[in-house]
């Protein structure tokens, strides 16, 4: 079972992100369970949502305390709550920021971990560019697909088409495609990137 925790703020589509992730996994024939951290939704307040993906039925109903991956939609949360709590040693981190992991002062966190699994993406700007709204959730999902390989970009696009219609869907797809390519490029340039080896092989 692969477990993902999404952190963000009310209004950033955190719960929607986890739900769409579960839809993308479902489209691949897998079992998935998405749920919010069950609070009153207030714009700007820290929000957490969860997604489990598995090849068999998911019965577990506890919150995700030891995630395989963490998606952080708002970097200001780094100063407010421990978004990395319980993150598995070989876990993935995707952070919405224009700055690098090093610039965000996270070098210490990455030190004993697999650095190629840490990535930042300017998802808010991608949302603004393609959808006209500063909502980072969809670009981050596509970026997560690129970073982890847990889900395919095509499945994220299917989830987008299920959630949105018309122009909004098209904009989100464009944002997702760009995000996916950007993360792939960053991974290509990473010194320990497995992709790099693949391409040279």
């Amino acid at each position: 079972m692969f477990q993902i925790r999404v952190h963000g703020r009310g209004g950033q589509g955190v719960v929607t992100a986890a739900e769409m992730l579960s839809v993308a996994a479902f489209e691949e024939g897998r079992h998935a369970q998405a749920f919010p951290s069950f609070g009153s939704e207030r714009t700007g307040a820290p929000v957490v949502a969860f997604c489990r993906i598995s090849d068999k039925e998911i019965r577990l109903r506890e919150p995700i305390m030891e995630p395989d991956a963490v998606i952080i939609q708002d970097p200001t949360l780094l100063h407010q709550i421990d978004v990395f709590a319980g993150l598995k040693q070989d876990g993935y981190v995707l952070l919405n920021s224009q700055h690098s992991i090093e610039e965000l002062g996270l070098s210490e966190l990455v030190k004993d971990r697999r650095a190629e699994r840490f990535c930042t993406l300017h998802a808010t700007e991608l949302g603004l560019k393609h959808v006209g709204r500063p909502i980072p959730n969809v670009p981050l999902l596509a970026g997560f697909a690129a970073l982890s390989g847990i889900i395919r970009l095509e499945s994220v696009i299917l989830a987008i088409n299920e959630k949105f219609k018309g122009k909004v869907a098209l904009g989100n797809i464009a944002a997702a495609e760009e995000a996916y390519q950007l993360v792939r490029q960053m991974m290509n340039h990473h010194p320990t990137s497995p992709l790099k080896e693949e391409e040279h092989a």
């Binding site: 986890a18 739900e19 579960s22 839809v23 996994a25 479902f26 489209e27 079992h31 998935a32 369970q33 998405a34 749920f35 919010p36 951290s37 069950f38 609070g39 009153s40 207030r42 307040a45 820290p46 929000v47 957490v48 998911i58 019965r59 577990l60 109903r61 506890e62 919150p63 305390m65």
Partner: protein, 417 residues
């Protein structure tokens, strides 16, 4: 059709497939998404001729459901927590009058202290209201139980609450098989009421009944629930024939055959319990699970039979009879009276406290060696409790408990996220 969807949305679709005629509800978390979705379905015309009636309170919601049902309409509503308490007088009327209303209870704690999260206090507070109460383990079962509930309710002319864990199920996205309309139509016939208000043939529903007949009317309500004990497994079997899956029934056992210790629970926590039990089984522990689906009527004989081979049981419940202990546990103990079985109660998950596999592992291992007091409070912070108790010993003006406990926990206000 298989779908990845929200529990609330799936339940709304299931209700739609049951061809309701009157839906009336007042929104309250965590029930809101269900009635919002139904409101949209009625507005779009897809449920025509169904009417969605906006009401000013839960008391009105149940009152409208009573009126609609008495007039021969298939009536549905949904609520939770204080909403259920606010409609309580009408809840008793619906069952007292024998009206087959189906209501979803998106289980949530009751305040004060105000708390929007899940436990089973709300529907269990209406234990003796005369409503049947069926508890869903998964969102699939929530969908399926609603379809079975209309059938059973209308056959017996008694109302049913379908209880699903607030947020944990209502707000969870998961894989759900939404039935086809023709399947539901073949399982659930049109509403043919046993009693109906009809100007052409006037009757009175709700006559005053004095001491000469009240006991008989009451007994007949009990008799109907006893009939339900027979009918619930039959309807589940028939459901399987049409829909191809096991859903509903009175109880459900899991890895119980050679179990020395049996864990008993209701609702979605059974999933986490089963995962824990699987891990313990792998490590050689003889442990099994008994899920109770039908809380009212309570299947005394079936529970007794299921526990026959075990040595001890632990009832894990999301409810507390203050001043006594367990609520479900009391019924289970009644079921096994005279058998000499050793029973324990664990109160867990009140007000949405997560019930984790780690805590269950510890608890179940203690149960196995009978190292538990009769009533345990899972993951209770004793430091905070003792601090407040000491405060009350030290000073007369010890202040409001909720505020003190939050302060001692270092929390400014309830945590959202």
């Amino acid at each position: 059709m298989l779908k990845q969807t929200e529990g609330s949305k799936a339940v709304a679709e299931a209700i739609g497939l049951c061809r309701p005629e009157v839906i009336c509800a007042y929104p309250i978390s965590p029930q809101t998404h269900i009635v919002e979705a139904l409101g949209e379905m009625v507005k779009s015309g897809e449920l025509a001729p169904c009417e969605f009636i906006n009401v000013e309170s839960e008391f009105a919601a149940m009152s409208v459901a009573i009126g609609a049902s008495a007039a021969g309409a298939r009536a549905y509503t949904a609520t939770a927590s204080q909403g259920l308490l606010f409609m309580a007088e009408a809840v008793y009327n619906a069952s007292g009058l024998g009206l087959p209303i189906v209501m979803t209870v998106a289980n949530r704690a009751i305040g004060a202290p105000i708390n929007i999260w899940n436990d089973h206090s709300d529907s269990l507070s209406q234990r003796d209201s005369g409503w049947m109460q069926l508890f869903a383990e998964t969102n699939q079962e929530a969908v399926d139980l609603h379809i079975q509930a209309f059938r059973l309710a209308e056959e017996l002319s008694m109302p049913i609450m379908v209880c699903m864990d607030g947020f944990i199920l209502t707000h969870a996205f998961e894989r759900i098989d939404i039935p086809e309309q023709n399947q539901v139509d073949s399982y659930l016939p049109p509403f043919d009421p046993r009693q109906v208000l009809d100007p052409a043939e006037p009757v009175s529903i709700g006559a005053m009944v004095g001491p000469e007949a009240f006991m008989e009317v009451r007994y007949l309500a009990h008799a109907k629930q006893m009939q339900a004990i027979e009918r619930i497994p039959q309807l589940a079997a028939e459901f399987k024939q049409v829909f191809g899956r096991d859903s509903g029934g009175l109880i459900r056992t899991y890895r119980i055959d050679d179990a020395e210790t049996v864990i008993i629970a209701m609702g979605s926590v059974l999933g986490t319990i089963k995962d824990t039990v699987d891990e313990m089984r792998e490590a050689g522990h003889k442990i099994g699970v008994l899920g109770i689906i039908s809380y009212r009527p309570f299947p005394l004989d079936q529970v007794r039979a299921a526990l026959k081979g075990c040595r001890r049981f632990l009832v894990l419940e999301k409810s507390l009879a203050v001043g006594m202990g367990g609520i479900v546990a009391t019924d289970v103990r009644m079921a096994v009276s005279g058998t000499g079985l050793k029973g324990f109660t664990a109160i867990a998950g009140l007000g949405g406290r997560p019930i984790t596999k780690a805590s269950l592992h510890k608890l179940f291992r203690q149960a196995e060696v009978e190292a538990l007091p009769p009533v345990t409070f899972l993951d209770l912070d004793w430091d905070v409790v003792n601090k407040q108790l000491e405060r009350e010993r030290q000073t007369r003006h010890s202040g409001p408990i909720a505020e003190n406990v939050l302060h001692d926990k270092g929390i400014v206000s309830a945590k959202f996220g």
